[in-house]
């Protein structure tokens, strides 16, 4: 384990209403991701997919602390970030199917999800490339006197790219309203952290760059939310840029719909251990402990979400492909 948790599960501060909404957000993300996995073999989604199953707590907790006008940037693994920030599900699925109704009009595929109206500024498939873009969004908002913040999602591998450091240094020196959220799922594709970084918490990097830094349990949506609330307030007030380290775990293969524990790059024991810390299951236990959400309510929610997903897939599948006459359009803005 690469980090310590400073924001622990504080049952006293537990707010059941918030808990239920975080639960719903996480379940919705998981159900969408599982449906993508289930249908991937149909070859209608003809682009790589990087699923977030197991990692739902971070985006759920973060987005609950954000305004619509706050901006988010993401990576190749952007589905959950997009959905949690309020990105349009239909436009996401249409994008993955290469349709004109996709958020990128079919030009981008699954790694370019964005939704301007929702404050999801962009996702980029080059590791760490979206980090400075998020800092730039923070700078723009500061320059324009808007009191919004920018959240920059990054994986544990991103901090190996120099551009993370360049971005963090600038955000710190200019006290920009930027919040770096590092989802440490312990792997970069198949490579474990120990083969890529020295043995120290990743959060040390945030501190060394002068960022206001916290560690959280990345499988505890409420803990993420509480920490995020504090960081967002800090950044929004002009006090400076922040860094959150959230340990979590990806359940499926790096890219694609399957499980891949048989490959041997990680142990089944490790996988099972993390599955035991399922962010959704553990929240159910806590909600049930408060009598806040029973099985019937959960089922009703699931039915609602299923209907939404079914409709969105139907929409995307029926949506037309771009006309080939438009292939070269939008090379230059007029």
């Amino acid at each position: 384990m690469n980090t310590t948790t400073t924001h622990s599960r504080d049952e006293a501060a537990f707010d059941p209403v918030l808990g239920v909404s975080l639960y719903r957000e996480m379940v919705r993300i998981r159900m969408i991701e599982e449906e993508i996995a289930a249908r991937y073999g149909e070859e209608k989604m003809r682009c790589p997919v990087h699923l977030s199953i197991g990692q739902e707590a971070v985006p759920a907790g973060i987005s609950a602390a954000l305004r619509k006008t706050d901006q988010v940037v993401s990576t190749h693994r952007c589905h959950a970030h997009y959905l949690a920030k309020g990105g349009d599900l239909k436009a996401m699925l249409a994008e993955m199917m290469g349709r004109e109704a996709g958020c990128c009009a079919g030009r981008g595929g699954s790694m370019h999800l964005f939704d301007r109206d929702a404050g999801m500024l962009l996702s980029l498939p080059i590791v760490a490339a979206s980090i400075p873009v998020g800092v730039g969004a923070a700078m723009a908002m500061k320059q324009r006197g808007e009191d919004n913040v920018a959240v920059i999602y990054l994986g544990d591998a991103s901090v190996e790219e120099g551009v993370f450091h360049e971005s963090a240094n600038f955000a710190a020196v200019r006290k920009l309203p930027a919040i770096f959220v590092c989802e440490n799922n312990l792997y970069s594709v198949y490579t474990p952290l120990r083969d890529r970084q020295p043995d120290r918490p990743i959060s040390e990097l945030g501190r060394a760059h002068g960022l206001h830094t916290v560690e959280v349990d990345g499988n505890d949506a409420l803990g993420v939310y509480r920490a995020a609330t504090e960081l967002v307030a800090h950044a929004r007030s002009g006090a400076g840029a922040c860094f959150m380290l959230a340990d979590t775990y990806r359940w499926r293969e790096h890219c694609g719909p399957n499980f891949d524990n048989t490959l041997g790059y990680r142990t089944v024991a490790e996988f099972e251990d993390w599955k035991g810390r399922d962010p959704i299951e553990s929240l159910i236990l806590r909600l049930e402990g408060k009598g806040a959400l029973d099985a019937a309510e959960r089922q009703a929610m699931a039915n609602e979400i299923t209907a939404e997903i079914t409709e969105a897939f139907a929409f995307a599948e029926a949506a037309p492909f771009p006309s080939i006459a438009t292939a070269a359009d939008n090379l230059y803005a007029l």
Binding site: R46, C47, P48, G98, R99, G102, C104, G106, R107, G108, G109, S110, M111, H112, L124, P125, I126, V127, A128, A157, S158, E160, E161, G162, S188, V189, Y190, T191, D195, R196, Q197, L263, G264, Y265, F321, P322, I324, A327, A328, L331
Partner: protein, 360 residues
């Protein structure tokens, strides 16, 4: 006589890398994914088990730094072989490649040497989108001091890999990902395919097609179909983009008087521009008609399948240019186009062409 053994280009690369690691203690592999179970599309598979983590160096995601590290080790006499799963990622390390690697030998009056091999894979297919599918060989070809090669057959992949590793200069090896699946006759044991320049891979007299990398296969397919309609063209595999040896191309043009250049990158400001300009400068009088270029249209790669289908040129484009240059009848052109399309069997553009299995 070609070897009887038929293997894929991915296997050929893996074999070359294994042989180099075995025979030259100063070699090592470095790259994101070299130690992965999949082993970079199979090209490094299993080498970590044989050679361990000091020779098969899995790297943090830090292309610029690790390139500089590879260069530093090369200055000390090591022979690093670096791999980028996609050439797009190499955009992060151009400063090191263009400034340090390309110029160290020149700027030290010949005292420093940079025996560095950089493998960069050109992505294609399955909705990769605009940032995972570029073909950036032109950028490297522009820089004096780099060598830039693009093998097209399994035999060449192995031989040119050995030659790149043996070379005392920074050699950029651009590998089209779909060529990895192609079969060919490949001898066992190490051998060198010299990095000396273009090669005639099919002779003919009506026109010259200069093609690089994956487009060599498209050109050969076009040539076969054109042969069937009575038009014999010469196909030249460009192989080595830098240093550029125009001799075989000029010789061919003096024979045929007609030129089509096709490469895997954008047409404008691309490889084809230099070939055409060079031919015009040196063999203007031999040209019967203006040369034609086949390349990507002037926009990023779209992810959506129907847009990708019209994005990538193929053998039909070559056939059509040849038809025009050689004055073939519309019927003959149609017939040749129909033939090449039939071979492709309607497989969508985002999947490797099953008919390109070889052996080549």
């Amino acid at each position: 006589m070609p070897s009887e053994r038929i293997i894929t280009a991915a296997q050929a690369i893996r074999e070359a890398l294994g042989e180099a690691l075995r025979d030259r203690p100063e070699t090592y592999l470095m790259g994101e994914g070299v130690a992965d179970p999949g082993g970079i599309f199979g090209t490094t598979k299993g080498l970590i088990e044989e050679f361990g983590p000091d020779r098969v160096v899995e790297m943090p995601v830090a292309e610029n730094g690790l390139t500089g590290i590879a260069i530093g080790s090369a200055l000390m006499g090591q022979r690093p072989i670096m791999t980028h799963q996609r050439v797009d990622f190499a955009l992060l390390c151009l400063e090191q490649l263009f400034n340090t690697a390309a110029k160290s030998h020149y700027v030290t009056g010949g005292k420093h040497r940079v025996p560095l091999t950089v493998r960069m894979i050109i992505g294609r297919g399955w909705g990769q989108g605009p940032q995972h599918s570029q073909s950036l060989e032109t950028l490297f070809a522009y820089i004096p001091g780099l060598k830039v090669v693009m093998p097209s057959t399994p035999y060449e992949f192995k031989g040119m890999m050995h030659a790149a590793i043996a070379d005392d200069n920074p050699v950029m090896v651009l590998e089209h990902r779909w060529l990895h699946y192609v079969n060919g006759h490949v001898p066992e044991g190490p051998y060198l395919s010299p990095l000396d320049g273009p090669k005639v891979v099919k002779s003919g007299d009506r026109a010259t097609v200069v093609a690089s990398s994956y487009m060599v296969l498209e050109a050969l397919r076009a040539a076969t179909a054109l042969e069937h309609v009575g038009c014999s063209i010469e196909v030249i595999d460009l192989r080595v983009l830098r240093p550029l040896d125009m001799t075989p191309i000029l010789a061919s043009i003096r024979k045929t008087g007609r030129l089509v250049v096709c490469d895997t990158g954008w047409k404008q400001f691309g490889i084809g521009a230099e070939i055409v300009a060079n031919v015009v400068e040196q063999a203007f009088d031999a040209l019967k008609l203006p040369p034609a270029r086949v390349g990507l249209p002037d926009h990023p790669t779209p992810s959506s399948l129907p847009l990708a289908e019209v994005y990538y040129p193929d053998s039909t484009d070559i056939v059509k240019h040849i038809g025009r240059l050689c004055g073939l009848s519309p019927d003959a052109v149609d017939k040749a186009c129909t033939e090449v399309l039939a071979v492709r069997q309607g497989v969508p553009i985002d999947k490797p062409d099953p008919a390109f299995k070889g052996p080549f």
